[in-house]
Symmetry: C2
Subunit: 175 residues, 2 copies
DNA sequence: TTATTCATGTAATGGGTTACATGATTAG
DNA sequence: CTAATCATGTAACCCATTACATGAATAA
């Protein structure tokens, strides 16, 4: 159950409404942890019921600003420091890359690989642009920079892998 | 629903029983896509019901050998070539790394980071050992090599990120 | 004969996605 | 006044995990 800790982590940075959190997940963390409105609202209610966050006064359109409290911070710290991480993954991106290299004819594989490479290049370029942008911005927060840098390094790793995969596929006998 | 395609992908390499597939997931793909016995048995039944795989004769202890057929290969190809990938991720590994850098005191953060670095080093070393081992083995299959290489590159990316995160955390004012 | 590995499954629960459902506020 | 954005939720369904449950074959 990491959504709970992802939410606590974002709220530790600054108070936010469910709607703002959903945007934050979508903009900054889509390649790390994706979560949507519909999932966030119930989770925020649960966090409030469990006493880990507090709800400030309602804003326009029923906006509820959630703030982390000491109990929430302690829960987050406990999870990060005391609980060992779940090392297993379920990544469609990586699965796809593996399968296209393993289970397609060379022509199909190269075509599918090209498409994935396009995505990773786009990710990388977006992260490079953000990096540049943040370097000029004295307001930029470090956590966001580190998230960007992680996504950048992961895209670069996949691009390097793709070069290797391409070579291996091209070396195979054609159908 | 990628489990289905993961299974078809493995069966495209060679026929296998549910038990063997579970092992394969655990040994080769834990950092790409993790699946267990309990999940595989029902999925294999469904694949058989949908006509994508066929069940050979039963072996000892009720062992059922599943074989992919043309319909299964077509379904796999369709998914890999025609369907655009789901680009969103839900990775506890990456979420943790991000949160520890974002939401802990410097001392806690460095401690938690050390633990994660330990895991990534272990992954990298294991993958390096496998790479060496496969280089000597003329039997080694290319798909397995590419899976190992992907995991290796991803671990190395996270180790490089960790160096950067450590620097950023150390540069922060201590509590 | 005992432990390990092989081999398969079901039931209950929990988490996530999709579809459904509503409406206020602000910018142009 | 119209479109976009802000803002929140519920219900049904599907997928995944955990706990439960069983037992045959092989190696020591």
């Amino acid at each position: 159950m990491s959504l709970r800790h992802a939410v606590l982590g974002l709220l530790a940075g600054r108070p936010a409404s469910g709607y703002e959190l959903a945007k934050h997940f979508q903009r900054t963390l889509p390649h790390i942890w994706y979560a949507r409105n519909h999932q966030l609202y119930p989770e925020l209610s649960r966090l409030a019921a469990d006493g880990h966050v507090e709800v400030g006064k309602e804003g326009p359109r029923g906006r509820r600003l959630y703030e982390i409290n000491d109990s929430g911070r302690e829960e987050l710290r406990r999870w990060l420091v005391d609980v060992d991480s779940d090392r297993t993954a379920r990544s469609e991106t990586y699965l796809r890359a593996f399968l296209l290299s393993a289970a397609l004819s060379p022509d199909d594989a190269l075509q599918a690989l090209d498409r994935e490479v396009g995505h990773w290049r786009a990710d990388r370029d977006e992260m490079l642009a953000l990096t540049k942008h943040m370097a000029d911005d004295p307001e930029a927060d470090e956590a966001h920079q580190l998230a960007v840098s992680m996504t950048l390094k992961l895209s670069e790793a996949m691009l390097a892998w793709a070069d290797e995969a391409r070579e291996a596929i091209e070396a195979r006998p054609r159908d």
